[in-house]
């Protein structure tokens, strides 16, 4: 049993940290958010140069042969910098899906392009009626021509405005919420029949509502076998959750440190407000939630390969912890910063917003506690 990082991992962390420190200040980020695109292609290129986009992929596809732990390290630092560029979407989720289930041809086609920074991808998994259930899919893919024809709609597809390709789960058979009959398609975002309505999100990212009207997908667009998409999708999302937990830990750590710092300097009634015992204990609780969340992040990233039931329990437990902790730490950071915490000018509110959005992404606390309990029951 060992919780230490390899030398390579330490170097990776250091290089990400350095980049964030130098190039991703709160002001620099504000400029990115205010730009028309809402992200920075320069940053993305730099990520590619630093090898971040290649980190989790096998060397034969232009990767560096890392895995979940490398993504974890990167995402924790991205959390600290509130990075808006679509690492989770492109590298972890879509890259992960292709890595998990892609044919050799698909891997050769897409992974090197992701690793080099050439291709942005987005996963269009959620549907307007579906809430958090990945199987709740009404979008249909009917056989047609030499492939399939897609019709339907997807909701809140993060990073879609920037993406060249989409991965789209659609029904080739079965009814709404059936676990069978889901197929994944890799589709060009500019394919005829796709319309997007783009918007910013509360936490400064960009997303789209997308509708499909007779969108053609060739047979080679199928990722992982017809009707076999759900299990792959679930595994990829669990891996994304593991990475996102690290991002959340990064956010929480910044908030806790900033709050402690603020309370040491901010004076009221003649003394630093950090001398008030009620606020001290509140910050201790924030600190403990950070530590517990970090523990869970290690746990889930170390357990991703231990079989489906174990993976599900690990991912759902970690997501539930991060959801709960993120809400608490975020709310208390605002509360303890007082009026200052309410302003858009201070970074505190932006971390709070990101944590708030992370809670709902890929299923909130309730959803994951249920999933955790259900996985335990089939287990017994």
């Amino acid at each position: 049993m060992d919780f230490s990082f390899t030398e390579e991992q330490v170097l990776l962390r250091n290089s990400v940290q350095r980049y964030i420190q130098d190039k991703y200040s709160f002001e620099a980020r504000k400029t990115i958010l205010a730009s028309e695109a809402g992200w920075s292609r320069d940053n993305w290129r730099a990520f590619a140069e630093l090898g971040l986009l290649a980190a989790p992929f096998a060397e034969e596809y232009g990767g560096f042969g890392g895995g979940a732990l490398e993504a974890m390290i990167i995402m924790e630092e991205f959390g600290k910098g509130l990075v808006v560029e679509p690492y989770l979407q492109t590298v972890v989720l879509c890259g992960g899906l292709i890595n998990l289930a892609g044919s050799a041809a698909q891997k050769s086609e897409y992974l090197p392009k992701i690793a080099s920074g050439e291709l942005i991808m987005a996963l269009a998994h959620a549907e307007p009626q579906g809430r958090f259930n990945l199987a709740d899919i009404l979008t249909r893919a009917e056989k047609g021509g030499d492939g399939f024809v897609l019709n339907g709609a997807k909701a809140v597809v993060t990073a879609a405005p920037w993406a060249g390709k989409l991965i789209i789960p659609a029904r080739t058979s079965g009814a709404q919420r059936d676990r069978r009959g889901v197929t994944l398609f890799i589709v060009d975002k500019n394919a005829p029949g796709i319309s997007c309505r783009d918007y910013p999100t509360i936490d400064g990212q960009r997303a789209s509502e997308i509708s499909f009207e007779n969108v053609k997908a060739g047979g080679n667009a199928v990722l992982g076998g017809v009707g076999a998409g759900l299990a792959i999708l679930e595994e990829a999302v669990d891996r994304a959750i593991a990475a996102q937990c690290a991002e959340a830990v990064g956010c929480m750590r910044v908030l806790t440190d900033a709050t402690v710092e603020y309370c040491k300097t901010r004076k009221q009634f003649g003394q630093p407000i950090g001398k008030f015992q009620v606020l001290q204990h509140r910050m201790v609780d924030m600190f403990m939630e950070c530590e517990q969340s970090l523990s869970m992040t290690y746990m889930v990233n170390l357990k991703l390969d231990e079989g489906e039931a174990e993976r599900i329990r690990a991912a759902s437990a970690a997501k539930a912890q991060i959801g709960k902790a993120g809400r608490f730490v975020g709310q208390q950071a605002i509360q303890l910063h007082g009026g200052m915490g309410m302003t858009d000018e201070l970074n505190v509110g932006h971390y709070f917003k990101r944590l708030t959005m992370i809670d709902a992404q890929f299923g909130n606390v309730d959803y994951h506690l249920k999933r955790f309990a259900a996985a335990g029951q089939t287990d017994r």
Partner: protein
Amino acid sequence: MDLKFTPEEIAFQHEVRSFIAENYPAELRARRKLEREFDKREYLSWHRILAQKGWVAPSWPREHGGTDWTPAKKYIFSNELALAGTIPLIGFGLNLAAPVIWTYGNQAQKDYFLPRIYNGVDWWCQGYSEPGAGSDLAGLRTRAVRDGDHYVINGSKTWTTLAQHADMMFCLVRTDADAKPQAGISFLLVDMKTPGISVRPIITLDGGHEVNEIFLEDVRTPVANRIGNENEGWTYAKVLLGHERSGIAGVARSKQQIARLKKIASDTQEEGRPLLLDPDFAHRLAALEVELLALEFTDLRTLAALNAGQSPGAESSILKIKGTEIQQRITELMLEAAGIYGAPDLRGMNLDGDNFMGISAELGGIAPDYLNMRKSSIYGGSNEIQRNIIAKAVLGL
């Protein structure tokens, strides 16, 4: 003990309800549904309708336009306004400036300012907080130096709610720098059009513009606009802090929000049934409703004590603490109900008649409401300070 209103009170309730139904502007009724920010004209339109009816300031002394309603009738009135979801009356003039003016102002000040407040001629803002001073008002540093018939004010104020609309500001300024922190402060009424005043918006984390920073640079204000004696402003301000707490619990407003939440949760599907019937969601919602029911009766007990001529005392801090906790939890449940649709930031997008897919304007307002509502446990004496007050004043700790 009896829960019933008297027949007269019930008749009054009907009168208020009909008045709102018949007189509330249709334009506002439509706007309210979208839960967006209002502009000055909208705020004032309803203010003026109530002023015309003589109902805009029920708690004022009769001579200045107030009513002689019993506390129960005042309760019914504000309750009906909240249940109908009318646009709030902005209280800086009505509930904060006015009582100081009629209590400590001279006859000229009363004659001039009170009718203008009543009729919504002047919009007021409150210049108490200063950058760096927070809940600790005694530390204020804005200075006013006497120069003939004027004071010359230099300094800045912050967290000034809706100052972007204000015609007048009542503020505390330091007139004697050598006195102890709480002495040497005077209470001035400042015309916001005076040269040297600039207002800078503070954008809050929900993206809204509610509060402002105000800079005062050589602002000349007539000595005639000073309330009471020089250097005694702190005394007047303190009295005001304990003044009007009616409606502080926000029970009627929270009830209306819970009804809205239930509607949203019925319309949201989770695993093929309405989210409202999901056991976890239902549990939390029920717990919140129970909490609100308890608060409603704590509020009524306070009202009954007022009715019986008792002063409610520091117990009313309970109303502030529990009231804001409930308001915050409602917005939390709203956000839960919104699910992934909490994420889109639709500010500035006109969604009327263009609800793309699942996103209604109503859903789009939920996350900003949640974010914005974090303020409720901070502003107006943070909930930590409210607990300090109860510990000291009620429990004697």
